[in-house]
């Protein structure tokens, strides 16, 4: 499912919201999550899961074309930990 299909589904569920309005709202929610993490924060959506950053150590890699060694600096990556409720829901259909 894509973002636009998700937006359509939600605008059907919520009374009095057009598809365009729903789109702005959904975009704003995901933007807000990204902004929070970009500030080093974390986002906890009870029942769904948590978003936070994880650290990746510096490492040496190789340019696959030239074989040349390159230093990859340490960095942060977004990490999602699935919530208990969602984890259980996904397995109910097994």
């Amino acid at each position: 499912m894509t973002k636009s299909e998700l937006i359509e589904k939600i605008s059907e569920k919520v009374d009095g919201l057009s598809k365009k309005q729903t789109e702005v709202i959904v975009e704003t929610i995901f933007e807000s999550i990204k902004e929070s993490l970009a500030k080093g924060g974390k986002v906890e959506i009870r029942g769904f899961g948590n978003f936070r950053l994880r650290s990746r150590n510096a490492r040496k890699a190789r340019n696959p074309k030239t074989g040349e060694a390159v230093d990859v600096p340490p960095k942060k990556v977004p990490y999602f930990k699935v919530g208990k409720e969602l984890r259980e829901m996904v397995n109910r259909s097994l």
Binding site: K3, K13, L17, R46, P78, E85, S93
Partner: protein
Amino acid sequence: MTKADLADRLYEKIGLPKKEATAIVETLFDSMKNILSEGESIKITGFGTFLVRKKGSRKGRNPKTGTELEIEQRKVVTFKPSLQFKALVEKV
């Protein structure tokens, strides 16, 4: 940041009344839970993809007692952040 804070952001950024903002935040994550429960992935452009993956059964061990046990097949939700999201937080 929690669901309540996300609702506050909606009010600050686009003036959506708190009550409506709270309701739509709930609806969004409930819908996503239902979609994923049906085994369907969700791709949010600019944010990332939520995937449902099947894990086969395997033998494991109770780390406390050392007894062998069968870990049954199950499904897990994973999140693959978009390149844009990764670039945004890389240097935090």
